[in-house]
């Protein structure tokens, strides 16, 4: 097994207005491995990224960097860097690319040049004197990746890195991330709402619903043999040319209110297989073998 | 309701701050001029009056600042603002009581006219932007850049000195006895025309510009586009959709600019020797009448705070969401 770089234990975030955005999330990120965190809008997956980047303080739970409680933020962010979803918003419009790339090099006293950073993301050096508005979405996202690499981190938190990009260039950016992971031996957290890309890109996949992780395991198993009813619905709703068009059950209702989540299982109001017990008691984490698990009452017997 | 409560608390804090500033100013800045003034009037001031001036300006060195502050509040709450030197020996509160109605009348009427007129013109100018109406912008800018008092001077030169159609000064004819007669009311209106027109002309420009810009901004919103697409008449889209939303910031801006409007009104009163608070302040400044100046500041500030509270109520009525501006 690869070395564990970043570990989250029982991360919980409740916002002041009462929204319970993230509830008891535990994750392990290993060097050279991509971990996907899949969920719909509002499932709390972006909050997990911000918690791990320490951009927002956690309500409870802890983060361990190489097995230790992290110290000052500057030291921490040298190892853990983040890529934001929207490359049109994550680069300051008033600064040239050169400024955006030089700052992290200075902050973390790295000897590389901004030219080398651009080269690493396969962009020409003359981009340095351009402004963000002169770049395309894909080029901007590459610049954002270069900025994250400047600190020479060991963990990259990629918050939906391709969802704002044209479909045609998504693969290019994902392949770039994979190359970088191989070359720099990075631990990557890949956050996405697209479970198909998780299968393609990630070694391990976690599924989030309503602020909680409901299923986890290696990507192949989770995407090919989903256990949790939510994961099954998620996969069924993704278009797949290989699958014959059958009538898939559509989930009822809307994503749960994080302000007052339902008692018991948070998915129970929409779950086609819900039993009375699901309405009242939160399900335990049931192991399905080979590291695959789901938080669902359906698999209680398997455990027992 | 919570909104109004919050605002009321804020106004109370502001009133407290203004009163405290009034208390601190003469104590922080050299108080010699007041001492000199009191010495000059020594023989004619009663012991009580001297004592209350001492309290107001902190000349009594034997008491602690806290004691001074408490007796200062005591004086205020009993309406004792000291004696005016200009109108010696009338108490400041009495001078203010006599001039306040004039200012309130003049300001109330002109503000309502100017706000209403400015809003209507602004809505129209915003609606027809890109046409000749845009020429209004530089013209109104020019007028809003003219100081109130100078416009007043010009008005006097043209309409009172040159053509002699309106009186140059005062709130009513010199010989007339104030009373509730129709004759007196007519005279008051007649005397108010020039100052009122001056204020309206100077202040309307600001409302026009503000409303025009809000109209232009609001009109790019999707609900205006949808209203057009529904086939509603131009008039209806303009009034019920665009203007209805554009007026909200104008109303909150109204409250905030009141302090400015008050300043302008005071100046116009000075120029026209209109018997309101502004003219009283002017006389106080010339005579270095500190009790009077401080009294004017207090009264004007409190009046502005009350007016602000009224504007808040208006905003609440206009905006169904009772959207709470953070501040």
């Amino acid at each position: 097994m690869n070395e564990v770089v970043l570990e989250a234990r029982g991360l919980t975030k409740h916002y002041r207005r009462g929204a319970r955005a993230v509830e008891d999330v535990s994750l392990v990120l290993r060097r050279g491995r991509v971990t996907a965190l899949v969920g719909e809008s509002g499932s709390g997956k972006s909050t997990v990224a911000k918690l791990l980047a320490r951009l927002v303080p956690a309500t409870s739970g802890e983060i361990l960097l190489r097995g230790e409680k992290p110290g000052r933020f500057r030291e921490y962010c040298r190892s853990v860097q983040m890529i934001f979803q929207d490359p049109f918003a994550s680069l300051n419009p008033v600064h040239r690319i050169r400024y955006t790339l030089t700052r992290p090099l200075k902050i973390h006293r790295r000897s590389e040049t901004p030219e080398q950073l651009l080269e690493a993301v396969q962009l020409p050096a003359d981009f340095l004197d351009r402004y963000p508005h002169e770049l395309s979405g894909g080029q901007r996202q590459r610049v954002a990746i270069a900025r994250a690499l400047a600190a020479q981190p060991s963990v990259l938190l990629a918050d939906e890195p391709v969802s704002m990009l044209d479909v045609s260039i998504r693969l290019g950016v994902l392949n770039l991330l994979r190359d970088l992971k191989e070359r720099l031996h990075l631990a990557v957290l890949y956050i996405t709402h697209d479970i198909a890309s998780a299968r393609y890109f990630a070694d391990e996949t976690f599924v989030m619903y309503g602020g909680q992780v409901v299923e986890g395991g290696d990507s192949e198993t989770v995407t090919q043999h989903p256990a949790h009813p939510y994961t099954q619905l998620l996969i069924a709703s993704a278009p797949d040319p290989d699958r014959p068009a059958t009538s898939t059950p559509t989930p009822l209702g809307e994503p749960p209110s994080l302000g007052s989540p339902p008692d018991g299982c948070r998915f129970s109001p929409r779950c086609p297989q819900a039993t009375p017990r699901c309405w009242t008691d939160a399900p335990p984490r049931c192991s399905l073998g080979d590291g695959h698990w789901a938080a669902c009452w359906l698999y209680e017997e398997v455990v027992a | 309701m919570r909104f109004l409560l919050r605002r009321t608390v804020f106004y109370l804090v502001t009133a407290w701050a203004a009163i405290t500033v009034n208390f601190l100013l003469p104590r922080l800045l050299p108080g010699d001029p007041v001492q000199a003034m009191i010495t000059r009037f020594q023989g004619r001031l009663s012991g009580d009056a001297v004592q209350s001036l001492y309290v107001l300006f902190g000349l009594d060195q034997n008491t602690s600042v806290l004691e001074q502050y408490l007796s200062y509040w005591g004086n205020l709450l009993t309406g004792d603002l000291g004696l005016s030197f200009t109108f010696f020996p009338t108490p400041v509160s009495e001078v203010l009581g006599q001039s306040m109605p004039w200012t309130l009348g003049l300001m109330g009427v002109t503000t309502v006219i100017s706000f209403g007129l400015g809003t209507v013109i602004g809505v129209y100018a915003g609606w027809r932007r890109g046409t000749w109406v845009d020429a209004l912008v530089p013209v109104t800018t020019f007028f809003s850049a003219i100081p109130y008092f100078w416009l007043g001077l010009i008005a006097i030169a043209v309409f009172a000195v040159n053509w002699q159609v309106f009186p140059a000064a005062g709130g009513y004819p010199a010989g007339m006895e104030p009373g509730f007669s129709g004759e007196f009311a007519g005279a008051v209106l007649y005397h108010a025309v020039l100052p009122a027109v001056t204020i309206v002309v100077s202040s309307v420009a600001g409302w026009i510009l503000g409303m025009r810009n809000m109209m232009v901004t609001v009109s790019a919103e999707d609900y205006v586009l949808v209203a057009h697409a529904k086939g509603l008449s131009q008039r209806r889209v303009m009034i019920s959709y665009a203007a209805r939303n554009a007026i909200l910031p104008s109303v909150s801006g109204f409250a905030l600019s009141l302090g400015f409007v008050v300043g302008g009104t005071l100046l116009v009163e000075m120029v026209f020797s209109y018997p309101g608070i502004g003219y009283v302040l002017f006389q106080g400044v010339n005579a270095k009448d500190y009790p009077l100046m401080q009294g004017v500041f207090l009264v004007v500030t409190l009046a502005v705070l009350v007016a602000n509270l009224l504007a808040d109520v208006g905003y609440l009525l206009l905006d169904p969401r009772t959207r709470r501006e953070a501040w």
């Binding site: 934001f84 700052r103 | 502001t14 890109g130 008092f149 009141l258 502005v304």
Partner: protein
Amino acid sequence: MNAKTRAGLALLGFFGLIAVVGPWIAPYDPSAMGPDLLQPPSGAHWFGTTMTGQDVFSQVLVGTRGVLVVGLVAGVLATVLSIVIGVSAGFLGGAADELLSALSNIFLVVPALPLIIIVASFLPDSGDLLIAVVISLTAWAWGARVLRAQTLSLRNRDYVLAARATGERTWRLIVFEVLPNLTAVIASGFVGTVIFAVLLEITLSFIGVASISNWNWGTVLFWAQSNQALSQGAWWWFVPAGLCIAFLGTALALVNFGIDEYANPRLRSAGRGKVGFTPVERS
């Protein structure tokens, strides 16, 4: 840059030039009394003379500097105050925000003119710079309010978060990530404050609160008013100074429109005549 902005800048440049060279090109000593008493404009005295034979043209020329200096000094001080208070309030949030917001609101609501009159008349010496400082103390609140609102909307932009994630310090986030995006707002606030300061200074001189020994347009009007220039029909005594104020104010306001339109493209008026907002076909 459109015609309005250009006209504003040109006018502003003209007044700036006068402010620099005014005292040298003035044909007379503005305080020197001459034999021509209360004369209307003529070849010798372009703007006529005062009751004591002073040359009004020279007074206006010499007085320009005082007006602009006070306006600029007050504008700079007030803008700095408004940036420090407004941006900190917006960026820091929480209790600091509550406190700073309440402070600016108090300064906004309290009527400035009577307050300044009191402060200025308590001051033993009310020279130009002192007046500028006093004006700036009452003029910063509006800018602070606007900047706070803008900062609040910028604070959680991704690029600020991203800069924080690279390890930038808070002060650098404020100065290098947030502030540059507020340039237009700050510039517009600065110009607005200068207008406010100029008007207030002239007003104070006119009332006689500020020192009347320094020449500025307000002092000219003060002497005209106290010598009953109006009732003697001496229009030349108060018209030039007033027009200068109005033109200077207009110039500044036009520059401000330019900045506003730059920052808010919606305000740019379309070149061709267009009624309403949507190109709807009407029968």
